[in-house]
């Protein structure tokens, strides 16, 4: 070893390390003299070290037969099967199961799934922010003074509060909110709070809506928001577009299919304002200006139309493009315009029947397959129809002659305003690039356009997704040819047995985005923040005054569900209630909601706030009562949803699991509260009030029976026993019931799932609008394309035209481009983008020390390098980010990947992680989009499909180096 003599020379220590070295050298000499010839060969002392590490591994692995299985059912939708390793009843670590079977030898398999968050749940489940015991607030809200109480006391208190609000003649069920947030998305455990809520007739709101994750644009187009495929579909596409999406960061378990697809010949295009982990490997990255996606989509439509890249044969059958539109009032031509109905029922049908101009007869003809049509097929051939796509005609209606044209003509007219040369300055995308994009979508055989959740975070995001859907409609993208991919969801039947009551009780759904807007006094923030100019820009010239009047009127109609309760034709308005008592599960709502006033407003309106979670979220800090839930490795549970893959994962605790505090699973917890509620209701002074009146819509018998509450909750009441409903009351019972009741789970059992490695494979019945083939990836709408089945839309086809008065008023009856509501100008020149995070699932795992050490340890925000220089901001500086609404502080991360007109910050930080505990939503206003407020039209009636979105990117901001 010739190098030895140089050792002293080359060994240099930097900084403080030098001080340490001198003191420790001779402390550990243990082994006697050993002659080592050369460590590269025949080393004489291998065993000591090897045995040490072998023992350490054995310790972390534990006994294989004690392995648990789990997934992480927070709102990432990834849903991955994990082995949970343990030692002596304590979880040591997790390792992917990686046993999903390959469905086709020529398509990559789904293993190993998982991500950087799931891989460390074992480390945070024993963290010191675990809620260990039921705790009752004894100080002011948020002050942090608690008293530990027993489960018995806690459940009794919650039960009494529920009884009080339910039986108070002034209040009743709609003053109670029992709501499960997205920290708990499973088919097993989540059923407990849902069932409890439904049984009481308590208010519940749609999570997708208040999160801004609802695919309202897809709902307009397809009558279904969850469209698209399993992620292995990406392997065999020719063009793979991620529009507002960054799969390498926010679809970590599935991103490999994109890059393997690229090796297989796909062209990958990423459309995002920032350069990111997906853009870095793409074939084309399109740096779009934030929020202009709906306008870029219109330019693509413009190119497709001008360069005749569309597919008329497809459009005639599968879209409403040939439908006739009256030019006098821009309404669709309906049968009710042409004929008098004999009775009310016929009138209703006539209103949902539409015409096209039949080129074979030269006459307007009723199109089959529409909502009101007696024919439920789209086989135009059978009716001798070949509809015209273009032209203008005069038709004789019952009101006289009117000029009509086609929806396609209306679309052409609208799209003519969006030539790529004209939109270049708004979108920042060069016309050549727009053309390349249009050709890459129109020409190849299979194209998937995956839309990211960020598109719904902008005002008018509804138009972005609708327009992209329309691009797919024009180019014949459906079924095996791809198309819009929002988020596939498999069909699971029979799970209502857990959360529902076979019609005895029905949930009281309120609007998500409206509910939170009202709860947080959103109108005040709106009025304070947005100018008349902002509203006019975003709502087709409508003044702020008019806008606010319309919104106020709609809110008034939706109050307490009034408008819908009075309607005879389904829902017509977004319903909302104002509860004063709330039981909230796993929903960090004070982090999530926009505007600085939400928390204050919520707490002011809420008399009693019980919060259930396994960790101290921002919501937990302000609760009146805290109930400790178990976390993912301590429970029995099951999860399929949504449908990135065809597997259902099992959660089963490790053997001999040592309990963490007094944490309880949600089923046992709500069964306990149910038991107490039944006891309270049966007290002599209460029994006369125990039957709580409600609308038959929510309670079949006209009342909720609190004196029988536990029995009904657990299916031990007479009616359920007679119907042989499955017994409920623990997490394990719920999983068993789900496996028994859900036909897509057949023939699996918990034992079989365990043996397979913690999952089951869905059977063929899981496909919603396409078959789920055994050896091919799934993609929606084959039934439509091959079997000519109608879509669940008013027209029975893909929708390009909505003649709801609000859509007409806003110039959006057909696809159009609309700018955002974010204030423009130099005062606050930056947009704050807060996309889904690599390092957390919303607020889940944001507090993990292991994950924080791989970030900056405190909230940080990307700042463009040039901009930072101009502003005198250096990497690591604390900056103040502000606008007229408020301010917050974060560390600057100076980056070449950040656009100069924006700041990019992964979202999900709890306000308590920021300096002065002011979160980034302090500068984010909130607004309601009138298109999403519109309701009661065809398939656009309030429900799980059609609610709206709470926006996140509508604040304009400035920043400066802070001195704090």
């Amino acid at each position: 070893m010739t190098q030895n003599m140089k050792r002293r020379d080359f060994l240099k220590f930097s900084g403080v390390t030098a001080a340490l070295v001198a003191s420790q050298g001779s402390l550990f000499a243990k082994t006697g003299v050993m002659k080592v010839e050369n460590g590269k060969d025949n080393y004489p002392n291998t065993t000591y070290t090897e045995e040490m590490y072998r023992n350490e591994f054995d310790f972390t692995r534990g006994k294989k037969e004690e392995t648990g299985f789990a997934y992480h059912c927070v709102n990432c939708q990834g849903n991955c099967a994990w082995e949970v390793w343990s030692h002596n009843g304590v979880v040591t670590r997790e390792n992917q199961s990686a046993r999903y079977p390959s469905i086709n030898a020529k398509i990559p398999d789904f293993n190993p799934r998982g991500c950087n968050k799931g891989v460390q749940h074992s480390q945070i489940m024993y963290e010191k922010d675990r809620i260990l015991y039921p705790m009752k607030r004894v100080g002011e809200r948020g002050e942090g003074k608690w008293k530990r109480i027993s489960w018995d006391e806690a459940a009794t208190e919650v039960a009494e509060k529920i009884f009080d609000v339910m039986t108070d003649p002034e209040r009743g069920p709609d003053k109670l909110m029992v709501h499960a947030g997205t920290g708990l998305l499973t088919e097993g455990r989540r059923g407990a709070p849902l069932r409890f809520s439904t049984q009481l007739g308590a208010v519940r709101i749609y999570p997708a809506s208040y999160l801004g994750d609802m695919f309202s644009g897809a709902a307009i187009a397809y009558g279904e928001g969850n469209v698209g495929g399993t992620y292995d579909f990406m392997y065999n596409v020719d063009t793979s577009i991620f529009w507002g999406g960054n799969p390498s960061v926010s679809r970590i378990p599935d991103a490999h299919f994109v890059w393997e697809g690229k090796y297989n010949g796909a062209k990958v295009i990423i459309i995002t304002p920032e350069f990111n982990a997906s853009a870095k490997s793409a074939d084309l990255w399109i740096p779009i200006k934030a929020g202009s996606d709906n306008i870029l989509a219109m330019s693509v439509i413009n190119v497709i139309l001008n360069e005749k890249l569309y597919k008329p044969g497809f459009m005639k059958i599968f879209t409403d493009l040939p439908f006739l539109v009256r030019l006098d009032n821009r309404k669709l031509l309906r049968r009710s315009d042409m004929e008098h109905a004999k009775n009310e029922e016929e009138e209703e049908k006539f209103h949902e029947e539409f015409y096209a101009m039949n080129s074979r007869t030269g006459k307007p003809t009723l199109m089959p397959g529409t909502e009101g049509s007696e024919h439920h097929t789209l086989r135009l051939d059978e009716f001798g129809i070949d509809p015209e796509l273009e032209g203008e005609w005069s038709v004789k209606t019952i009101d006289g002659e009117v000029k009509v044209t086609t929806v396609f003509e209306m679309l052409k007219k609208s799209a003519a305003n969006f030539a790529p040369e004209k939109t270049k300055d708004i979108t920042g995308v060069h016309p050549d690039v727009v053309r390349e994009l249009a050709y890459d979508i129109a020409k190849p055989k299979v194209v998937a356009i995956t839309t990211g959740f960020s598109l719904n975070k902008y005002f008018n995001g509804v138009m972005a997704i609708w327009n992209i859907a329309s691009i797919c409609g024009l180019t014949g993208r459906m079924g095996p040819y791809g198309g819009l991919n929002t988020e596939n969801e498999f069909s699971l039947s029979g799970l209502g047995a857990l959360s529902g009551f076979s019609g005895k009780y029905a949930p009281r759904f309120g609007s998500g985005f409206v509910g939170e807007f009202v709860f947080g006094d959103g109108m005040k923030t709106f009025d304070r923040y947005f100018s008349d100019e902002d509203v006019r820009r975003a709502q087709n010239g409508m003044s702020k005054k008019d806008y606010m009047e319309i919104v106020q009127k709609l809110l008034e109609e939706g109050k307490n569900g009034k408008g819908n309760n009075e309607s005879h034709h389904g829902n017509v308005v977004k319903p909302w209630w104002q509860p004063d008592t709330a039981i909230i599960v796993a929903d960090s709502k004070f982090r999530r909601n926009k505007g600085s006033d939400y928390r204050e407003a919520f707490l002011k309106k809420t008399n009693f706030f019980c919060y259930v979670d396994f960790r101290m979220s921002e919501a937990a800090v302000y609760a009146d009562l805290l109930l400790p839930a178990k976390s993912h490795y301590e429970v029995y549970d099951i999860r399929t949803s949504p449908g990135y893959h065809r597997f259902t994962n099992l959660a089963k605790p490790i053997a001999n699991m040592k309990p963490v505090g007094e944490a309880m699973d949600e089923w046992s917890m709500f069964a306990l509260i149910a038991k107490k509620l039944e006891e309270v209701a049966n007290r002599p002074e209460n029994i006369s009030k125990a039957k709580v009146k409600d609308l038959k819509k929510y309670a079949r018998e006209g009342y909720h029976d609190l004196a029988n509450f536990y029995k009904e909750f657990t299916n031990t009441d007479e009616e359920s026993e007679a119907a042989a409903e499955p017994y409920l009351g623990t997490d394990k019972m719920a999983v068993e019931a789900a496996l028994e009741k859900c036909e897509q789970y057949a023939p699996w059992t918990m034992e079989k799932m365990y043996k397979a490695g913690g999952f089951l494979q869905l059977n063929e019945k899981a496909g919603k609008t396409s078959p789920l083939y055994s050896d091919r990836p799934f993609f929606t709408f084959e039934d439509h394309l091959y079997k000519f089945e109608r879509l669940e839309t008013l027209s029975g086809r893909q929708t390009f035209y909505v003649d709801h008065p609000m859509f007409i008023k806003l110039g959006a009856a057909t696809n159009t481009g609309m700018e955002g509501i974010r204030p423009q100008g130099n005062r606050y020149p930056f947009v704050l983008m807060t996309p889904h995070a690599r390092w957390s699932i919303h607020s889940n795992y944001k507090q993990s020390r292991i994950l924080q050490r791989l970030q900056r340890g405190v909230p940080y925000v990307q700042v463009n390098r040039m901009v930072a220089k101009k502003k005198g901001v250096e990497d690591g500086d604390t900056i103040r980010i502000f606008n007229s609404l408020g301010e917050f502080y974060a560390m600057a991360k100076v980056s070449s990947s950040c656009p100069p007109d924006g700041l990019v910050m992964e979202h999900g930080w709890e306000p308590y992680m920021y300096k002065f505990k002011k979160g980034h939503n302090e500068v984010v206003p909130t607004a309601l989009n009138l298109l999403e407020m519109a309701d009661g039209w065809g398939h656009l009636k309030f429900g799980g499909l059609w609610d709206g979105n709470q926006y996140a990117y509508d604040g304009a901001i400035d920043f400066e180096k802070a001195d704090v």
């Binding site: 080393y43 591994f57 294989k64 037969e65 670590r93 990686a98 398999d109 950087n116 350069f275 990255w285």
Partner: protein, 366 residues
Amino acid sequence: MSKRQLAMVMDLNKCIGCQTCTVACKTQWTNRNGREYMYWNNVETYPGTGYPKNWMELGGGFDESGDLQAGVVPNIEADYGVPWDYNHDQLQFGAQLKPDVEPTWGPNWDEDEGAGDFPNDNYFFYIPRICNHCSNPGCLSACPRDAIFKRDQDGVVLVDLDRCQGYRYCIAGCPYKKIYFNPKISKSEKCILCFPRIEKGLPPACAQQCVGRIRFVGFLDDEEGQVHKLVHKYKVALPLRSDYGTQPNVYYVPPTEAPPKFDAEGRVIEGSNRVPMEELELLFGPQVHDAMKTLRAEMKKRKETGKSELMDILIAYKHSDMFRLDQEYYQSIAKKEGLSLAPIDNRYMQGKNSPNKFKFKVVEYD
């Protein structure tokens, strides 16, 4: 030289920078006992400072004549980053959640920052790094106690924790700075290629748990294996900074994939690539030109004909096929040494001496 050499190939085109590998390694080995600050596996954004900070400038390795080069032992605060902790227990009292040490540096501090002018030519990519288990390890040569060795059976480089005295010459000697000082036991520790997992039939945590499916593990002499094919047959997998002279056994498929640049008007510059070739040449040597050529030609062939063995390998249809751990080979050694290393998994057992992966009975879950 060890009898055989186990190696890893990482495909940088498929790496998504998620760091599932980093965290899998952390929970398997480095979340305890003085290893908290260490990242036996890390993923760094390139261009960037890397981990530890500016490791490429800290010396070590050998010059052309085979002489060990001077090196610097990095500093915890400035170069590795202090593993700060939090006051989680104070949240219930309404406190702000704060790190107990002001974070000024960490192992992934410059994540996704990259270089260049937005949006015209900025770029970055990821480089995951573990110990290279070199054939000529700088750490081994630098150790005055001769307490670092290569395992004969698979070439895994280990610190003899019995004999190590904590002098830390190894840290200076390793040009990759992938060997660390454990202050709690006053000895050096490093990535052990998860040999205790491998011996029992389970791939290294960073590789098996890699959700981007970028890592292949197998013996270099296993001609059926992907590692051999990528390194020797197609020569598309190259060692990182082989100019340091340590003969690394971790290989990288260089990043051929990056979007084109834009001109001043926002037009695509056809045929351009954001990643400068000179950067790739610095990292992977002059062979990178041929490797990139081969990769691009095979991608083109795949697109046009649907065929390419190289693409088949990189796509990796079956996750379990990415690992060839040659269980019979390990079992025969265990038997010779009188060790009982019952395999716990039968999915990754194939290899040169193990044609049948179902030969071994493993414990089932029921």
